[in-house]
Symmetry: C2
Subunit: 382 residues, 2 copies
Amino acid sequence: MPASSNTLASIDTPAAIVSLPQMRHNIQRMQDQANALGVRFRPHVKTTKCAQVVQAQGAAGAQGVTVSTLKEAEQFFAQGVQDILYAVGMVPQRLPQVMALRRQGCKLAIITDNAVVAQAIADFGRQHGEAFEVLIEIDTDGHRSGIKPDEDALLQVGQILHQGGMQLAGLLTHAGSSYELHTPEALAALAEQERAGCVYAAERLRAVGLPCTVVSVGSTPTALEAKNLEGVTELRAGVYVFFDLVMHNVGVCTTDEIALTVLTTVIGHQADKGWAIVDAGWMAMSRDRGTAKQQQDFGYGQVCTLDGTPLPGFLMGSANQEQGIISRSTGAPDADIATRLPVGTRLRILPNHACATGAQFPEYQALDEDGTLQTWGRFHGW
Amino acid sequence: MPASSNTLASIDTPAAIVSLPQMRHNIQRMQDQANALGVRFRPHVKTTKCAQVVQAQGAAGAQGVTVSTLKEAEQFFAQGVQDILYAVGMVPQRLPQVMALRRQGCKLAIITDNAVVAQAIADFGRQHGEAFEVLIEIDTDGHRSGIKPDEDALLQVGQILHQGGMQLAGLLTHAGSSYELHTPEALAALAEQERAGCVYAAERLRAVGLPCTVVSVGSTPTALEAKNLEGVTELRAGVYVFFDLVMHNVGVCTTDEIALTVLTTVIGHQADKGWAIVDAGWMAMSRDRGTAKQQQDFGYGQVCTLDGTPLPGFLMGSANQEQGIISRSTGAPDADIATRLPVGTRLRILPNHACATGAQFPEYQALDEDGTLQTWGRFHGW
């Protein structure tokens, strides 16, 4: 059988299905938002680690990519992406790997939030004649790493890099706490906090004569709800390309917009409990239970029919490694489960977190409007 | 550099480290237990999906393997394992794949817990002249799938298979609810429930003249705490080979016996919060938070020094995709975190769940007593 004759009814399960109409819609929506706000858009490719997805983002107008590992940088550079931002704090031991990529022609920028590493970058760079391009990581919401916009360390790190002969490109922040919100007003306020904090930090650098060209902000929720990005040059987001149930609960997508589902097959029942057992467990869905602490807990995922329509009230309520348990979210057993979902029935499960679920699969099955499937590889590990 | 000169200090992070002295000890402990109880031991290879680990289990006396996917069956058969039990409920669509493996010489057994699939197996088998070897799945603890020992369906499924010309090999059960217990007494009682239920079901089959040679039971906790396996022929367990913090909380291992750790590097700090940021996040640890509902919650893992010694009170308290946050478990900030764990410090993190953490890595680094590392591949996906 040629690959193009594969369908949702014929391929082996479990499988990670990417619905292309939804994916294209999501890509266009974010690009339109960046265009409307007058900033470049640099997608975070850690969500998909997939060449075809990144090509579609680039075709829609994205400029460069953001990566979370140097393996991602190497893979996407090999696939022709030149402009790469490695957005996880640099450690000195990785400088030779960064230098090797830069000397192959990759415009690879790195980040740091501390003076020790900044000094190590400057020392290594001077020693090897390499003017690394560096952004300083700013903490605008207390969520993770970064220097607060008003801290002395900001100017100290900037001076170490600049006086050390490195290319101090600018600043970057990520308001990861946006995942904990769920109203447009709160998200817009956090987007403004992210913008204002990063722009203030940029002004402090410039006031002492340090260069700061790039002001890079973003997370999917703040990117979509930002009203104004004055002073910002670049927006970043990752999970928007697929969306997921966590993003649905945050309020930035509907379930209809979720592009990633896990295709699975019913393998048995516990009729007295109202359970259908499927061949996708936590190995397929991932252990991500991100909706557990949100206003609507979807268990391991929302059950949909083969065409992607949600079956209201049916969740993957629990999971073993290779088996999921489908049941009513109310806990009331469905006495008709074995006739409603007989053995062999194929279902699609909307995931809690697209980044985590995608990583469980060596490849995606890209589903086009005509029902054909294409296999898209994705890479794994470090 | 030749591979053998790699050490914990030189390899890239994050990395999945398998400590060989602990692994060998764990393998011997379980094999001794099976030998003492007079049963065969068939390891579940879903934990490691790694040829070298399975070779070590076989060398210690294991007979055959248990798999959770047909990909595992194909991979291990290609590596020379002949005797394979696919211990996830069969679906009719997979019968051609099973038949193909059997016709290559693989002694591949399958399981079912319902009459619809049993009939489909018999029909397909007769049609193709293949007498599939089938075990009936028994539910002895209400945890997942299987027929209860006293249900009518047991004899019905047995008769469909036997009269349909299939090889009805026997019964299998898995007391997965053992993970919810934490005393030797409760585990011994559940092991006895698992044994007694499966043996009773075997007697029912034999009483009506159906064959039942294999009586297969097991989960790591019940396998280790069983006092008597009279009537059982085969024991199965998977995670015992590495152990993890969930098993520590269940009470069947000490932290010193855990063979799997994630090697990571400190990349920054939030000194005012008492945080060290490391380059292993949830992508490396997995999203498994299995200790969250146990008596001791280890966050995303227990922090150890490079030699594997736990740093009491230091956990990976939270995690982003590629960054973990190391902090005191008490929540009281460690004012000395940046001097205690400076940038570049290498740590090892004990995982909640070895099956989930291992699956995040394309390979293990096997650490021998002399400090040398060997790369052991593992496979991924379906």
